[in-house]
């Protein structure tokens, strides 16, 4: 029993949250002037920068699709993002996998047919890592895409939840993630309630899945509120400037 106690009998998690509480989320958009759209998002100590370029002419002729745009996602983790400095190569399979998750998440949501024969690039950079990278990336990408003015059917909000000790807990931080917790990440279209991504890499008892899943869904809705607020504020800000 040398493992860390992740949830005290008093119902507090390691950082003082209760199981169904998200970490503090802060976000802004248009942080990079070079990019067409960009966003910066923090889930507690997990910090992500997202930049969207496009729609623009496709880099390689061979890839061009005549009826829709191609989505290209690149995902990177800064060497300084964790306590121990570690450099990853660009071809790290883990990074490529994450990129493809994000790509799959957005392909059905971005209305690519509007941008035939073009390419949309999403660059994601983890600046600080404290668990829940995938959810942070998806949320940041949503904001950056909106900031870039790319047509989407709806917001995409992602949230993780896992089975901690004997309860479902939401938005796991790094310590909780790394002590063998079963974790589910879902990406949801909050208004329609559709799921565009569901990812789980560890075993979870089927009886517990529903509870974890519902909790993650709740989280998505809460996250939607928060990022929607930021987007609206930015939009209002812009509108004011145009007057």
């Amino acid at each position: 029993m040398s493992r860390v106690e992740l949830l005290t009998p008093e119902g507090l998690r390691i950082d003082g949250r209760r199981p169904a509480e998200l970490r503090k989320i802060t976000s802004t958009t248009s942080v990079l002037s070079q990019a067409d759209g960009s966003a910066y998002l923090e889930h507690g100590n997990t910090k992500v920068l997202a930049a969207v370029y496009g729609p623009r002419e496709a880099r390689r002729r061979a890839q061009v699709l005549h009826d829709r745009a191609i989505l290209n996602v690149e995902f990177n983790v800064a060497p300084f993002s964790t306590g121990e400095r570690r450099r990853r190569t660009k071809n790290d399979k883990r990074l490529l996998e994450m990129a493809s998750f994000v790509k799959q998440t957005f392909e059905p949501v971005v209305i690519t047919s509007l941008y035939a024969r073009s390419q949309i690039d999403i660059y994601l950079q983890i600046i600080q890592h404290d668990g829940g990278t995938l959810q942070a990336c998806i949320n940041a990408a949503t904001m950056a895409l909106i900031d870039a003015g790319i047509a989407m059917t709806e917001y995409v909000c992602a949230c993780t939840a896992g089975w901690v000790e004997s309860e479902a807990a939401i938005d796991l931080n790094h310590i909780e993630e790394s002590s063998d917790t079963s974790e589910v990440t879902i990406a949801m279209l909050p208004k329609s309630g559709k799921i565009t991504l569901m990812q789980m890499e560890s075993r979870l008892h089927v009886d517990k899945l529903e509870e974890v899943f519902t909790l993650a869904g709740e989280g998505c809705k809460q996250i939607h509120e928060v990022i929607d607020k930021t987007i609206r504020e930015r939009a209002e800000d812009l509108a004011k400037k145009m007057q």
Partner: protein, 1032 residues
């Protein structure tokens, strides 16, 4: 809800890493006081009218600091202490310092009657504090405790009825600061003194008061940083200390020396440097010149014991010149590495059962003034413990529990405190409780919570139609069970059906415990913790509640029961054609005892189906057994006895050796077959996490002594494989000594390693081997009612045969499984030892007011004693090889006591003098007369030698006479007669042989030397060694 962040730096082993953690502060952490209206709590823990203490006029809640829990946990557990606020800071510190104490605190918190409330002050907005610059973590925590106490004091200030907060700390500086802050602060001692309760007062651990030594007796321990550096650089060695069961001043550590497994011997009080059995210690090797060769163990010298007593009486002059009991012997053997303890990495202190040394009780009878007394633990390996009590006189002659608090370098003995008294020594129920406690057997009643998981129908539970879901219906089969007489927890039953093709369908049906015990619930946790059912002579400590164990799961005859079946098709020569497993419903046709089954086999007139089945099974079992023996399975022996108890008083009236019948072997063969088949199946499904059982090959060193001894008789033992060993055992027969072979088997058993549970992912497949059974894989499947390992195996097997079964990580988590194996191995070992101790206890009761003369065999030679096994009673005892000779300058008081020895003669003080000396060349004891080359010594005691001994109980010692309450049976040598050691028999004086033996002796029976009865000490040590090895 306010959230803030805080950054914490933390270093991990090796490189320094900055860890950033979030820390949210909340304002929804409630005070939990019943009358508080400001807080939004739904349930409250702290009662509105907490207790009052003379010191404080108002009712109050206690806020203890960390050290109160660490040092005074026994006091805190008392029912008088209620309404305590446990701060998160304190709880975390306790957890960091000691997990067992943390668990006890948690148990108190869960106990509703204690009203312990955990206040998460670290996450409370108003009580969280940042560490100040230059403030040590300890000071910061002390301040956090004060701040939280202050917050509480303010928070409940205006409540009606009035309540207050009392900060409890033994740190005077902290108290002063608290009082300056306007808080009420108190030390435990003051608080308890104001309660006027002697028992509670005795339980306070007060190291300072007892530690009156001015002189440094021991070397200082090195700092943890120093130790870890030393261990890394190879200068120190880390390991678990095992104290010899014959001498508490000699211990050994099994560790890696220069990359090789080896044992470091630690001899003497100074070198042991306050380490207690089981502690994880750091050892430094002594220079080679100080290494020594020792025989297997040295019985502690009475002389040194006596000196200890004296030095205690004159406590001020702590005898620093204490010699060690060990005599060095110059031999040509390579000396064993010796070392000294330089530091203690983890203590293994627990609570000890034992008794107070009468001689240290110096006050007049009836006095309740506090005095310091010495305590002997029942376990010989534990040093005497000094503690302070006000009830010394009422505790004399009782079994008491004492805990060690500390062992300062100025104190010769560890310092402890009294916990509770168990009752009169020698009383059967008290002694039974002692042995259960000593072996860490959880024996409390099942809690209501556990019982709530039993089927609601209770006794009336029956198999319902829905139970047939996923089960085969075997109710028509002629299933029967064969068990020992009086067995109520029947967990296995058998059947056989001849098949048309000439083969046989054989089924083993095991009680389906897992149908009732679902993973993870309280009943399951309780069973996992108990690990096994413990069988004592007169009672049984169940692993599962009686309703399940003896009724609903028990495969009784003529009722329908759920079972887990293993069905083979065996051909005529008992080879497995195929095997399958299924859950089933059976209705046993007969539950027989071994004897009944045997009679049925033998009785030609019985021709019913069940009997015919048993005969077929018997035929198959014999073939299976032969095959197993051909593979090299061992047939070992143990001197087990059975007591016939008187019905009402449960006192033993007769002893008989356990008898084995053919039918025992019958059941055993099929159980082995089932276990092996199941092991293969679950290993296939769970290659990483199957619960299996292995029996490691014993290392050659275990056999050295035995090989030497039998070589003298022209017998060789080849233990390279179990096959060769089993053959050499079969061949080792001495015609005129029929018991020799049995004896040899008993002694071979003691050379074996302990069989262990393990998780398949943790060791290589080669190590799965079961040496004793000569099989490559093995597990336990057949007794789920009494073993938890079998419950796990049932779950794994169920998951393996039915892919629809939902199971959680409990079956797949390698780490958790490994941990569980560790617990089960420990419980198993303890259960075995407890069972043995129970037999020992009944042996004592049996010999009450009896003197028996019996034949025995020397089975172990020690430095200055030898151990005799008496086959008739299956008991072992030490016979000392040193005689008591009257001392010329007689000491004023007669006082020879001790851990191991008991002297009957009350006459003047005696000094021990070796009559026989140890000869390491022949591993024997011989008389001391000078020998010329080639001459045979007059008297020699050798391994396997047949001797006559007198067994009796020592009534003088019962109840704490002269302090030596630990042992009550003595064994004295009758023949060969050796002057100074032997006693004269009472009944066979006319025996010509005895006369021949004693021809040269002028007898003086008052010179009888007492002997300690230590049953199977050797095996226990082997057990311990095996355990240690598995740790390493």
């Amino acid at each position: 809800m306010l959230r803030q962040k805080q950054f914490v730096k933390k270093t991990r082993s090796g490189n320094v890493v900055k860890v950033v953690k979030e820390h949210y502060l909340r304002d929804d952490i409630w005070c939990s006081v019943e009358t508080c209206k400001a807080c939004d709590h739904s349930t409250t823990v702290l009662s509105s009218t907490p207790s009052i203490n003379k010191l404080f006029p108002r009712p109050h809640y206690i806020v203890p600091d960390t050290n109160i829990f660490m040092n005074q946990i026994d006091v805190m557990e008392k029912s008088q202490i209620t309404n305590v606020i446990v701060l998160q800071t304190v709880l975390e510190e306790v957890k960091h310092l000691s997990l067992p104490i943390h668990k006890r605190v948690r148990d108190m918190i869960n106990n509703k009657e204690k009203h312990f409330h955990v206040f998460s002050n670290e996450h409370h907005r108003e009580t969280f504090i940042e560490k100040l610059k230059d403030e040590s973590p300890n000071d910061r925590n002390d301040r956090a405790i004060r701040v939280a106490a202050k917050w509480y004091a303010n928070h409940i200030r205006n409540l009606k009825p009035e309540v207050s907060i009392v900060l409890m700390t033994d740190d005077a500086a902290n108290r002063a600061k608290a009082i300056a802050d306007g808080l009420q602060a108190v030390s435990v001692k003051w608080y308890i003194e104001a309660l006027d309760n002697n028992e509670l007062l005795d339980m306070i651990s007060d190291t300072k008061e007892l530690d009156d030594g001015k002189q440094m007796i021991y070397e200082e321990h090195l700092s943890p940083a120093h130790l870890s550096n030393g261990i890394k650089s190879g200068r120190f060695f880390q390991g678990k200390l095992g104290i010899s069961s014959h001498n508490y001043l000699e211990g050994s550590v099994y560790t890696k020396i220069d990359g090789q497994d080896g044992t470091i011997l630690i001899v003497g009080r100074e070198n042991l440097n306050r380490a207690v059995d089981g502690d994880i210690i750091a050892v430094e090797l002594l220079p080679k010149s100080e290494w020594r060769t020792t025989p297997t163990g040295v019985v502690i010298d009475e002389e040194e014991e006596k000196k200890e007593e004296e030095s205690l009486k004159a406590e001020q002059k702590a005898a620093a010149t204490q010699e060690d009991a060990v005599m060095t012997t110059a031999t040509q053997d390579t000396p064993q590495p010796c070392g000294k303890v330089v530091g203690i990495i983890r203590r293994n202190w627990r609570q000890y059962c034992g008794f107070i040394d009468r001689k240290t009780v110096s006050t007049a009878a009836g006095s309740s003034a506090p005095i310091n007394v010495l305590f002997f633990a029942m376990e010989h390996k534990i040093p005497k413990i000094k503690f302070r009590t006000r009830q010394a006189h009422s505790l004399l002659g009782q079994r008491v529990i004492v805990a060690i608090d500390s062992w300062p370098k100025t104190s010769k003995y560890p310092i402890g405190h009294f916990i509770r008294s168990l009752g009169e020594a020698g009383d059967k129920s008290t002694e039974t409780e002692v042995l259960l406690l000593e072996h860490d057997v959880p024996f409390h009643e099942f809690s209501k919570q556990v019982l709530s998981f039993l089927p609601v129908e209770g006794e009336n539970w029956v198999v319902q139609p829905e139970h047939f879901n996923g089960r085969e219906d075997f109710r028509q089969l002629n299933v029967c069970s064969i068990d020992p007489p009086g067995c109520t927890d029947i967990d296995d039953a058998l059947h056989v059906v001849p098949l048309p093709n000439g083969n046989f369908q054989v089924g083993v049906h095991i009680a389906d415990v897992t149908h009732f015990v679902k993973p993870g619930n309280v009943m399951d946790q309780e069973a996992a913790n108990r690990g096994t059912t413990v069988y004592l002579v007169d009672k049984r400590i169940d692993m599962l509640p009686g309703l399940l164990g003896t009724n609903l799961c028990s495969l009784r005859s003529n009722v329908e029961r759920l079972a887990f079946s293993c069905i083979w098709e065996l051909n005529d020569s008992a080879e497995i054609v195929n095997v399958r497993f299924t859950k089933s419903v059976i209705a046993s046709k007969a539950s027989l005892t071994y004897e009944e089954a045997q009679n049925r086999i033998d009785d030609e007139r019985m021709q019913d189906d069940v009997t015919k089945g048993i005969r077929t099974l018997n035929m198959l079992a014999k073939k299976l057994k032969q095959k197993r023996l051909d593979m090299g399975a061992l047939t070992l022996a143990s001197p087990e006895v059975r007591f016939n108890l008187e019905r009402d008083t449960q006192d033993p009236v007769d002893v008989e050796m356990k008898e084995l019948k053919e039918t025992n072997a019958l059941v055993e063969e099929f159980m082995l077959l089932a276990n092996i088949s199941v092991a293969r199946k679950i290993y296939e499904k769970f290659p990483d996490s199957a619960m299996l059982r292995c029996h490691p090959t014993p290392p050659s060193v275990n056999f050295e002594k035995l090989e030497k001894a039998v070589a003298r008789m022209g017998i060789t033992i080849d233990h390279s494989t179990s096959k060769t060993l089993s053959d050499s055992l079969d061949n080792a027969v001495i015609p005129d000594e029929p018991y020799f072979n049995k004896l040899l088997r008993i002694m071979t058993t003691r050379c074996m390693m302990q069989a262990l549970y393990f998780c398949s992912g943790t060791i290589t497949e080669q190590e799965f081997k079961h040496y004793g059974l000569a099989t490559d894989i093995y597990t336990h499947f057949t007794s789920p009612i009494r073993r938890y390992s079998d419950v796990m195996v049932h779950r794994q097997l169920h998951a393996a045969i039915d892919s629809d079964v939902a199971y959680g990580t409990e079956l797949t988590d390698k780490e958790a499984m490994n941990e569980l194996c560790g617990v089960l191995n420990h419980r198993n070992r303890m259960a075995q030892q407890a069972a043995r101790s129970s037999v020992e206890l009944f042996t004592h009761l049996f010999f009450k007011n009896k003197v028996e003369e019996e034949e025995g065999y020397v089975i172990r030679i020690l430095k200055n004693a030898f151990i005799v096994l008496v086959p008739k009673y299956g008991i072992e005892g030490i016979v000392y090889a040193s005689a008591m000779v009257a001392k010329t300058d007689a000491a004023p008081t007669s006082s020879t006591t001790g851990a191991e020895t008991a002297v009957v003669a009350a006459a003047p003080a005696k000094v021990s003098q070796a009559v026989l000396v140890y000869n390491p060349e022949t591993d024997s004891l011989q008389s001391t007369e000078p020998l010329s080359e080639g001459q045979v010594p007059k008297v020699q005691i050798q391994l396997f030698q047949k001797v006559m001994v007198q067994i009796s109980i020592d009534d003088d010692l019962k109840g704490g006479g002269e302090g030596g309450m630990r042992q009550k049976l003595k064994m004295s040598l009758l023949k060969p007669f050796i002057e100074g050691i032997s006693v004269h028999g009472v009944c066979n004086k006319d025996d010509p042989e005895a006369k021949a033996f004693s021809s040269s002796a002028n007898s003086d029976s008052s010179l009888a030397n007492g002997t300690a009865l230590k049953k199977r000490g050797g095996q226990e040590e082997a057990t311990k060694r095996a355990g240690k090895r598995s740790k390493a």
